[in-house]
Amino acid sequence: MQFIVELGRYVKLLGAVFSRPEQWKTFRNQVFKEMNTLGIDSLPIISIISVFMGAVITIQTASNLDGGFIPLYSVGYAARQSMILEFSPTIIALILIGKVGSSISSELGTMRVSEQIDALEIMGINSANYLILPKVVACILFNPFLITLSMVIGISGGYLATVFTGIMAGSDYEYGVRYDFNSFDYTYAMIKTVLFAFVIVTVPAFYGYYVKGGSVEVGRASTKAVVSSSIVILILNYVVTQLLLI
């Protein structure tokens, strides 16, 4: 029951978010600003995580192929597929929830409890639209780039691992990376990326926007936001995968 009420409020908030911005110029500036804080500032952490994950996947796969029965290049193939299909779009999304989602939730929550949201409303500004829409647009535009970069860095990380460990020839790995590439896999990953970007912004924004109380509640909202949006993303991931890949 509680869930239905919350869902109703979430949908209502989305209704307020998706309306015409008061001023296009201000809106555009805000989108760029948010791309900076939500996107560009995430580059370092995403790069570090991706390079290590790519490397580890490669070493794990390669070290499990002792029989000589499966060709070595399949390591490159496996690394590429796991990065593109799952690691970059989904795991990075979960990491972005922790980084971007929680900050959105606490920013809005703080604005709520310090009456800054009321101040916007009193001026006659649609606060949900003004505060949330630029973040949604920024993430939807920027995340595909971020995730693609993560794929590239992850696959390169695998290559570096072959060089450093000598576990297999770099050329075999490279052959595997190029082997049997299906561009729909990338499309599938981008569909997920855009959907997840929407969740990463709107679910935490929902929790932050409706905070009641003080700093304790702001913290609590942020925690709830991370938990709920992670679950939503995992479920969405399953649904989209079943719909698109079977």
Partner: protein, 252 residues
């Protein structure tokens, strides 16, 4: 003129305002006084629609604000200047950007015109050297004054100030009172000021409304306050010996 008719406001079971009716006149600084927790802030938030009233209605120059849809309220809202009790400055913006914000959103003024208006408003609250500071870098009283500058930036028709001079020294406090009074008379606007400051009450109190436990208990002007025998009001106003002496002297 702003008129409230039979406003009742409940938070859950807690009835914070009971059947409050009052008129706030145009061209006058209308004061709301009352003990802490009596419902003053809640009353003004009901008037501007930040809280939905449980009962009753609010009229802005005859327009029934309570009956308007959220989207229709916008027009009146853009004519409201509101100083929050806590300032509610946008903490991601500098002082200057805070004051400029409503101008940017709602006017087609050039950058230069806006800058002039911002300078003018900040000057009027005696803050001409803080343009580039962030709210976190200001003292409490300075935040209040920036809040006032932001509230008057758009030349509002209706001005609300929730305790504009709490946290200010007596001298600045008087400057702010006079400023609010001047703006009110000069532009013939409807101003509602919540205050705890008896100095302000006896200085600028042309229409004073006393809220007691969520009810409108008394209404009058500063001269009436010296004369009144209303027990709750005198208990509130003449709590200190100093104020008692003032009354004795005034009554001869």
């Amino acid at each position: 003129m702003i008129e409230v008719k039979n406003i009742t406001k409940r938070f859950g079971d807690n009835e914070v305002l009971s059947d409050v009716s009052a008129q706030f006149e145009r061209g006058k600084t209308n004061l709301i006084i009352g003990a802490s927790g009596s419902g003053k802030t809640t009353l003004t938030k009901c008037i501007v629609g930040l809280h939905d009233v449980s009962d009753g209605e609010v009229l802005y120059d005859g327009v029934n604000f309570s009956a308007l849809k959220q989207s229709e309220r916008k027009e009146i809202r853009q004519q409201i200047g509101f100083l929050f009790q806590g300032g509610a400055l946008f903490d991601s913006m500098t002082v200057e950007e805070n004051v400029m914000f409503p101008l940017k959103m709602f006017t087609t003024q050039s950058k230069k015109e806006m800058q002039m208006r911002v300078d003018f408003c900040l000057d009027r609250v005696n803050l001409s050297h803080t343009h580039k500071l962030f709210p976190a870098e200001l003292s409490g009283g300075m935040k209040k004054r920036v809040g006032i500058a932001r509230a008057i930036a758009m030349n509002p028709r209706y001005l609300f100030c929730d305790e504009p001079n709490s946290g200010l020294d007596p001298q600045t406090s008087i400057v702010i009172d006079q400023l609010i009074n001047e703006i009110t008379a000069e532009y013939d606007i409807t101003t509602i000021v919540i205050t705890h400051d008896m100095n302000s009450v006896l200085e600028i109190g042309e229409n004073v409304i006393f809220i007691y436990k969520g009810k409108k208990w008394w209404q009058g002007d500063k001269r009436d306050i010296l004369e009144t025998d209303n027990q709750e009001l005198t208990d509130f106003v003449y709590a200190s010996d100093f104020m008692k002496k003032i009354r004795q002297r005034a009554r001869g």
